[in-house]
Symmetry: C2
Subunit: 405 residues, 2 copies
């Protein structure tokens, strides 16, 4: 480089490497259909498929109460918010949504961002860079958005072993007791589906006067009596300095947030570039999210049905001797361990059985742990589960046969 053609050649060569390694991403082209979830229309195949890898964990993205709230907001208020939160983009719906979220997590205040990714990036980059001398302790399996936020903060960073309070304690014990500290972890880890020992991590953090930052993205709406997440289920919401969550996934829309003390939230509102310099979420999204949160606060039966479906799928996979990973949450990883094979299994499930499960490859998971990631919802029927297990057994046997042959 450089020469215009050389830039192009560089991009093409990097893409070629992905293809050679079997981890070039091909997006399915789906048409969701309101009311028929988990069914969707696949445009390349030209046929309906059953989706088994959606993060619309409860199907709230098609719930009548959510859709009605969106319609109403559009009729009353229109489409976009019209500006940043500061410059004409704060509507009364945004105010109400932040009140609803602070109530959900038992915190003084909440702040909505354009996505969960942005919430993590903006909050952690701002806290880590603005709090003088801050040291950040980060779980080894934290999500890319947390890793980016911590990196962008330029704060001193230490990684503790995944879900390991003892390792966290060893590291905190050697730190200067006068420096501010922030311990960052998730409740449900999205790719393994395992759950953090929140109370024990808080015990350790409190002993060393560290703040705590909990990402509940894969837990809000799904756990706890009102859908407040694992921290609500475990009765420890009050012990966390910051709870971060999403309006996508269980709540079925898009957007992210943090809930915390009034001062901390106001601080992020005032200093986080990723909050300040971006257009506020559209009113239909905000209104839909409000309806979804309220519905799930009052309907624990949805969560019970969800867990029942999950247990049934786990049980059936075990019976069929499929390589499901140890069950802890609603996320069921099925280990493959090779990117090409993972893609082939996924393609075969789609082509032969009209079942859509996206292959999960590096860098989303470590190399050698490539997998399918199943997410049963309350809307998957007994018959859907039968078909899934039959299809997996069929494809697994074929693949193993090919490998032997």
């Amino acid at each position: 480089m450089p020469h215009p053609a050389e830039y192009e050649a560089f991009f093409e060569q990097r893409l070629e490497t992905l293809k050679t390694e079997g981890r070039y991403r091909v997006f399915a082209d789906l048409e969701r259909r309101a009311g028929s979830f988990p069914r969707a229309y696949e445009n390349h195949l030209g046929t309906d498929v059953t989706v088994w890898c959606s993060n619309d964990y409860l199907g709230m993205g098609q719930h009548p109460a959510v859709l009605a709230a969106m319609h109403q907001a559009i009729d009353r208020l229109g489409a976009g918010a019209g500006g940043t939160r500061n410059i004409s983009g704060t509507t009364h719906y945004h105010v109400l949504l932040e009140q609803e979220l602070s109530d959900l997590h038992g915190k003084e205040a909440a702040l909505v961002f354009t996505s969960g990714y942005v919430a993590n990036e903006a909050a952690l980059a701002t806290l880590g860079s603005q709090i003088p001398d801050c040291i950040i302790y980060s779980d080894a399996l934290n999500h890319a958005s947390m890793i980016q936020g911590i990196r962008h903060s330029s704060a001193e960073k230490h990684i503790f072993k995944h879900n390991d309070p003892a390792d966290l304690e060893r590291q905190l014990a050697t730190a200067d007791p006068h420096r501010p500290k922030l311990v960052c972890f998730e409740s449900v880890y999205s790719m393994d589906g395992d759950i953090a020992p929140i109370a024990k991590l808080c015990d350790v953090a409190e002993r060393y006067d560290a703040m705590t930052y909990l990402d509940e993205v894969h837990a809000v709406g799904l756990y706890g009596p009102r859908g407040g997440g694992i921290a609500e289920r475990d009765g420890v919401m009050h012990r966390l300095s910051v709870i971060q969550g999403t309006l996508a996934k269980a709540f079925g829309l898009v957007g992210g947030y943090v809930a915390a003390s009034a001062a901390l939230v106001d601080f992020l509102r005032s200093f986080a570039p990723g909050f300040i310099f971006t257009t506020a979420l559209p009113l239909a999204v905000v209104a839909g999210a409000l309806a979804s949160i309220r519905h799930l606060k009052e309907n624990p039966a949805v969560r019970a049905r969800h867990q029942e479906r999950v247990q049934l799928v786990k049980h059936r996979l075990l019976e069929a001797h499929l390589p499901g990973m140890p069950p802890a949450s609603h996320i069921i990883p099925v280990l493959v361990g090779n990117p090409r094979l993972c893609k082939e299994i996924s393609d075969s499930l789609l082509d032969r059985h009209r079942i859509y499960v996206q292959p999960i490859n590096y860098p989303t998971v470590p190399r050698g742990s490539e997998r399918l990631r199943l997410t049963p919802t309350p809307l998957h029927s007994d018959q859907d589960i039968d078909r899934l297990v039959e299809a997996l057994v069929d494809v697994w046997h074929r693949m193993m046969w090919h490998k032997v042959a």
Copy 2:
């Protein structure tokens, strides 16, 4: 620090500093009302106000065609996309939107992000970090999102004087000719409203084999025969390596994008964390944006009316001897030069005249250049303009009187 109470005290003290400096942000609490833009209901005052600072530049956020497309998408497809673009979140609407955008800018491909901020951050961080030895040249007044993206790339960075091709050339001339280079600038600068000499900047960049990255966030939908932006108006779209834009502002929704060569877009799709690890935009947003782009492609009269309104406001401000800054685009800054006074003027416009113009303070603009920022739309009537000018004259005279007294 540390001690829990000390963290709180730190946040509070930093907020106190903002208040002392007169730049603590107070959000207006508005209810937009479909069909009555630029009118909105202000919840603190309990009355209707006229909005003069919206980035919904053409009122498309309330256009019937946009709202109808959103309603239809909700009825047909539901609320959220249900996952990241790679994991069950790519719907046919996303595919169509990216085709529409690549057509708009005359590029081979386009990629949609959750916001314009994220598009800039993710694209620049990824290009700057992945292209070996890349040097980035950045206009001195580039937006916060570009600055963050460039910073996060860790690439060598040089800042050239605002809109100054000669200064850019001086800097490029001294660089190693074998290193890859990327020149980043905007077409319409959001706070001064001035316009870049795109062709001249491209001349320079091409002489030194540098790629070019143009942010058209405040121009798409507003300029050019089909709303392709200033680059379309100037007939230079084909000379830019990357054109970045937004679905908020003129298109009235939310979301951002880049348009470029197929290889470059596929490269960002495959390597940008801010694209990969986040939930896709909701279907109603995507469908609404599609309708908005198509409408503005075919209706140059909206752009003509917009410019006519802008010229009228500029003319009237000049007549009234108000300190409007030199006119170049649809953004009309009215200089105040002091954060407290700026806030007082804004408060007074709202309280006395029911006119909402948010004060713009540091860090959005440099200290000493605090301002009001007026954005006339095609929906502001002659009477709205009369009232605005009367109100500004009234408030300006009062403020000057107070300063003297």
